[in-house]
């Protein structure tokens, strides 16, 4: 493939004496093959054009998680990103540090906020009464793809909720929490679910799926969050502000976390029950935006009741599972 000249528009950042960050954009031109990685280009620039350019890197093979940075609008691993994929029509590639973490210099950020959140979920197996001593072939169905996480922080950098709340633990921490909740050897699964049901944990994810899209290791953090919520509700943790919302969205569900068949029918026929606060309801009413409490009944509604009953009598396991990683 032919070489092409690309423009790397790099954000240069410097922390000044009073702790403020001074930013400016600097352009570097570099000829590269379309499949050259952004990291190799940065190495070329640092080696031959400007030794002051600062970023983190180590493994060059998407293993260590050091080289995460914003590249053309998204957080990506520089060592796993081909230049052509991220260049715009004029061959420009924008490079800046990860967001939601304080900048130290150029592309280097202080990763403590990210790591401290991960530490909060106790990222290790704990002894306790729920340890399963039977570890079978399917025991790691849920654990496997979450363990691919390399703690690069990309998902946290792109997380919509982290952008507006530094208290939210974030996608990687929750994916890791799920890894321990589903590990047969973990002894405190229920206690974990209780803690995860508290504020700023699993219920604060706004389900934008950005982390699923961003993660370079296909961890799919939001999918893990959805599964955590399901497990939390099954254990009866339905009192926090988060689950209350999930329930308010559709109507009332019994406190046990079990669905009440009558209200479930209503949910399924559908009421957008998001009008939580009275003030907001009045504001919406001005424009006639209050849903009818008696929505139109759909035809064949008894079929839904049948489906529900059949599934309650014979539950189906239809969760997505990680592919088995068998030795060759």
């Amino acid at each position: 493939m032919a070489e092409k000249t690309y423009t790397f528009r790099v954000q240069r950042n410097k922390v000044t004496g009073d702790g403020k960050v001074e930013s400016r954009w600097q352009d570097y031109q570099l000829a590269a093959e379309p499949t050259t990685t952004v990291l190799i280009c940065l190495e070329q620039i640092k080696g031959h054009q400007d030794g002051t350019l600062t970023y983190r890197m180590s493994c060059r093979s998407a293993i260590c998680g050091s080289c995460a940075m914003k590249i053309s609008g998204r957080t990506r691993l520089a060592c796993k990103t081909h230049v052509e994929k991220v260049a715009d029509a004029n061959g420009v590639i924008r490079v800046s540090p990860m967001t939601n973490q304080p900048i130290l210099k150029d592309m280097v950020v202080d990763i403590r906020p990210f790591y401290n959140h991960v530490l909060k979920i106790k990222p290790y197996l704990q002894e306790g009464s729920e340890t399963d001593t039977n570890v079978g072939r399917s025991s790691y169905d849920q654990v496997n793809h979450v363990t691919q996480c390399i703690m690069c922080g990309s998902c946290y950098s792109d997380c919509t909720m982290a952008e507006v709340s530094d208290k939210f633990v974030g996608p990687a921490a929750l994916a890791k929490a799920f890894r321990f909740v589903s590990d047969p050897r973990e002894g405190k699964k229920t206690a974990r679910l209780r803690e995860l049901s508290e504020e700023n944990q699993m219920w604060s994810c706004c389900r934008c799926a950005q982390c699923v899209e961003t993660c370079p290791k296909d961890v799919k953090p939001m999918e893990a969050i959805v599964k955590l919520r399901a497990r939390g509700m099954q254990k009866g943790y339905v009192d926090g502000p988060g689950p209350k919302h999930a329930l308010a969205f559709h109507g009332d569900i019994q406190k046990t976390g079990d669905l009440n068949e009558f209200t479930l029918m209503q949910r399924t026929i559908g009421i957008v029950g998001t009008l939580g606060e009275l003030g907001m309801a009045l504001h919406l009413m001005k424009k006639g935006k209050i849903p009818s409490p008696f929505p139109h009944k759909v035809e064949g509604v008894e079929e839904l009741g049948n489906i529900y009953r059949i599934l309650e009598e014979n539950p189906l396991d239809v969760e997505t599972k990680a592919k088995e990683v068998a030795p060759e």
């Binding site: 389900r207 759909v298 059949i310």
Partner: protein, 294 residues
């Protein structure tokens, strides 16, 4: 050429955001798109039902998909969250035959036609920008936007996870940008364009939700936007009906009119403002439209 779909407007389109639904019907009529009602279709349950009862949520989706399949049509929706919920289920049914078989077993027992996993789930925006003859579309634009700066807000459930959608998705999606250009407007590029409006944390994290609304709107305004459009009844609700509450949280005036893409499309076709429900919007787009003769 007539484009036939089974229409799944979603509960918000049927109730709180019914202006989006009537605007959808109005533009469909003009563009030769037939939106057939789905009398049996229930609510799809969104992600909430997936969290509380996974198998049930898949069966509910299969029942909806099956109704359209029986009529020999693809589904067309105007709610991003419905689009995501039905696409997600459909994606699994097409790739995991064992899951489809299990769910169909339940449907059969419950007296429901099993789903053959043959149809597609589409958004009206995709139909308008990819399937409608663009010459026909252009010929209908009697009141072009004359360079009006319009911010496209895609909404996360229109885009991600990109693998599940049967059209361009994720960072590749460009439907709204293309539509704005076709209407004679100029699409604004701003950082919130593919972010989330916070709808699903409206009650659990109300301040954060309002900050998201404010951030998206202020970003767009900062890049010169005079109007914002979205393809989703729920995004509309957040970005428009919640804009004033969001102003209170950030202590800044926003004042950016936001409307459903079908409403703007209808307005530039010169359709009746009442049919488009423009008076139902909290932040009124009519003054800025009027300034361009729309």
């Amino acid at each position: 050429m007539s484009l036939e779909f089974s229409f799944y407007p979603g509960c918000a389109g049927k109730q709180v955001q019914k202006e989006a639904k009537s605007a959808a019907h109005a533009v469909a009529r003009e563009l030769g798109i037939t939106l057939h009602p789905m009398p049996r279709a229930s609510c799809c349950g969104a992600v909430s039902l997936r969290e509380s009862k996974l198998a049930f949520s898949l069966a509910v989706a299969a029942r909806i998909l099956s109704e359209a399949e029986a009529a020999g049509r693809n589904i067309c929706t105007i709610c991003n969250t419905c689009l995501q919920t039905l696409s997600h289920a459909n994606y699994r049914f097409k790739r995991e035959p064992d899951v489809l078989e299990k769910i169909n077993g339940v449907l059969k027992k419950a007296g429901v036609r099993p789903y053959g996993a043959t149809i597609k789930v589409q958004h009206l925006l995709w139909v308008v920008t990819d399937q409608v003859d663009q010459k026909l579309l252009k010929s209908k634009i009697t009141r072009p936007l004359k360079g009006l700066k319009v911010a496209p807000f895609y909404g996360c459930h229109n885009l991600r996870p990109s693998e599940i959608y049967e059209s361009k998705a994720g960072d590749e999606a460009d439907h709204l940008d293309r539509l704005i250009t076709t209407l004679g407007g100029s699409p604004v590029s701003y950082s919130g364009s593919r972010k989330c409006c916070g709808f699903h944390v409206m009650l659990s994290d109300p301040t954060e939700m309002r900050s998201m609304v404010a951030k998206n709107c202020l970003d767009a305004k900062g890049e010169g936007a005079e109007l914002m459009i979205s393809p989703c009844t729920l995004c509309d609700m957040s970005l428009n009906a919640y804009q004033m509450p969001a102003e209170k949280v950030v202590g800044k005036k926003i004042d950016l009119p936001e409307m459903n893409f079908a409403q703007l499309l209808g307005a530039s076709m010169g359709l009746d403002a009442a049919e488009l429900g423009l008076e139902r919007l909290h932040v009124d787009p009519r003054p800025v439209l009027k300034s361009k003769g729309v």
